[in-house]
């Protein structure tokens, strides 16, 4: 069956000559015509923060704007994620580090706690209902796990086919997941740290201006050895990063043994 669709003819866009941009690379400068996405403006205020829990730091890494990251947080260790530039969505997926068929389940997390938002004390559960991590500290009113990840494909629905070339979080998850043997079928509904997705009374739902700020943090205690994938969201078509992609800081701590968390009470 061939379908004829009355689609308005788009205005052709001609760009001659091909624009080029200068990029800083580890080896100097590169001139490129690749239309990579935006990075934060020069005058952006950055707060690099500190670990949210006292203890020995075992890993401390930065995630550049638009980039992906992964790491294993051992049972008992605490991962602090710092929203360095403010309102920067850190799209996040979790897996049992030893058996990745067991992975984060947004639906089980929400059904068990009987609430649609992630807050201090939320247990991040797997598709088997088990605790993967617990939100032991959190400096944002509520965190999102409804809004999912952006992708090249879903961007065509949300904004139009002219943005299909933009980089997206699903691309980052595929890049990072491939390092751990994970593929398309392993990408499920994720968490969006520092992103704001309210559900209104009539069911209206969407990504709105964030409630975070430079230096705001969340801390996650691993209940089992957990593989964490992060996409530092490159989206430039909605407020999930204030239209100004900034870095994230990932700090893994071995917390002091006598530490008591309010989240556990």
């Amino acid at each position: 069956m061939t379908t004829t669709i009355d689609n308005p003819v788009m205005m052709p866009v001609t760009t001659v000559p091909v624009p080029t941009t200068t990029y800083l690379t580890p080896d100097g400068q590169l001139i490129s015509s690749v239309p990579v996405g935006a990075s934060y403006a020069d005058n952006t205020h950055l707060e690099w923060g500190d670990p949210l829990v006292p203890g020995a730091v075992v890993l401390d890494e930065q995630v550049a704007p638009r980039a992906s990251w992964s790491g294993v947080v051992r049972a008992g260790q605490v991962l602090t994620i710092v929203d360095v530039g403010g309102n920067q969505s850190g799209d996040c997926l979790l897996y049992n580090a030893h058996h990745t068929d067991e992975r984060y389940s947004a639906q089980d997390t929400l059904a068990w706690q009987d609430n649609a938002y992630i807050r201090t004390g939320t247990v991040l559960r797997s598709n088997l209902g088990r605790a993967l991590m617990t939100v032991v500290e959190n400096e944002i009113d509520r965190q999102d796990t409804i809004g999912g990840a952006c992708s090249r494909e879903s961007n065509t629905l949300r904004y139009g086919h002219h943005v299909m070339y933009h980089h997206g979080c699903r691309e980052n998850f595929l890049t990072e997941g491939a390092k751990h043997g994970l593929g398309m079928r392993d990408i499920v509904s994720n968490i969006n740290w520092f992103m704001n997705v309210p559900v209104e009374e009539d069911g209206a739902l969407g990504i709105v201006d964030g409630m975070s700020a430079p230096g705001k943090r969340v801390a996650l205690r691993a209940e089992i050895d957990t593989l964490v994938l992060i996409s530092n969201c490159p989206q430039m078509n909605n407020p999930c990063n204030d239209f100004n992609p900034t870095p994230l800081r990932m700090i893994v701590s071995e917390p002091d043994t006598d530490l008591e968390y309010e989240a556990d009470s």
């Binding site: 947004a106 409804i146 879903s154 629905l157 069911g203 209206a204 739902l205």
Partner: protein, 290 residues
């Protein structure tokens, strides 16, 4: 079953030789139960009034705590009915040609800017396409937040989650249904459920809406060839201490008039987002020669 009933049942059968056992087995055919598939589908005792029995391609009553699954051709209509007001149809759909394309609950809620499922709502894949569209809905009580139950949840709620027992978990049923299409446990993503609803209160807590009563139905159209998996188990937030779920009726049919959504349909242009989703779906189907 009580022991004496089992002894009585055995006494009804003469199975001491192969010929007797064969005769005994063959004598059991032609019976009906309350939950069964109807073959051919046109023989369904519950064919919807507005559907020609000869057009049916799937007719089944799914048992409480049961599951079913089918591959449906593009353009097929699928009607799920809740005859008692107690069914809960946890549902997953996959592109049958490339099952890595499957229901994406986050996109299904986010892209239409609407968390609650109802008539006109697309079931979107993660690949920017519509797998199925909800055409009609007389229930209005559905859910895309909570998913289905796990064995851990049922063990907590009901004290047992054995798959052969009285409180099977929806995820375990999905895993089996998926396996029968070559899919593994990692291929069971977040799901949606029909006929038992929740609503989100201003503080984020879920308010139990439950069922809107006996005799409601939802009808969907397959926008691509689909693998459909259905687990009929209680909603995980069903507040009752008992494990209560009713039978689910399933009918699917295809006629020369049952097209997938085309630009001639009003729903094609219902929103700019869904229009582009249908454009992507038609683009895929036509390139693939469907």
């Amino acid at each position: 079953m009580l022991k004496e009933d089992w002894v009585a049942l055995a006494a009804d059968h003469s199975t001491d030789t192969v010929l007797n056992a064969r005769a005994d087995a063959r004598a059991q055919g032609g019976q009906v139960s309350d939950w069964m598939p109807y073959l051919p589908a046109s023989s369904s005792p519950f064919c919807p009034d507005d559907v020609a029995p000869d057009s049916l391609t799937w007719a089944e009553t799914v048992a409480p705590g049961g599951y079913t699954h089918k591959v449906l051709a593009r353009g097929t209509r699928l009607r799920l009915e809740d005859p008692t007001g107690e069914a809960c149809a946890h549902t997953l759909v996959y592109n049958a040609l490339e099952p890595t394309e499957r229901l994406n609950v986050a996109d299904t809620q986010k892209i239409p800017w609407q968390a609650y499922l109802g008539a006109g709502h697309p079931l979107l894949s993660g690949d920017g396409r519509v797998l199925a569209t909800i055409l009609t809905d007389t229930s209005g009580r559905h859910d895309a937040f909570c998913g289905t139950s796990t064995a851990a949840w049922n063990a907590l709620r009901y004290g047992t989650a054995l798959p052969e027992g009285p409180a099977p978990a929806g995820r375990d049923l999905f895993v089996k249904a998926a396996a029968k299409h070559g899919l593994g446990p990692a291929d069971v993503p977040p799901s949606v459920s029909f006929f038992q609803g929740v609503r989100v209160a201003s503080d984020g807590s879920f308010e139990w809406f439950g069922s809107s009563g006996a005799g409601t139905a939802v009808e969907l159209v397959a926008e691509l060839p689909l693998i459909v998996l259905i687990a009929n188990v209680p909603h995980p937030r069903d507040p009752r201490p008992e494990y209560v779920v009713g039978p689910l009726r399933v009918h699917a049919w295809r006629t020369p008039e049952t097209f997938p959504t085309t630009p001639a349909d009003e729903r094609f242009d219902a929103s700019p987002e869904v229009r582009r989703a249908y454009l992507n779906t038609l683009d895929y189907a036509e390139a693939r020669g469907l």
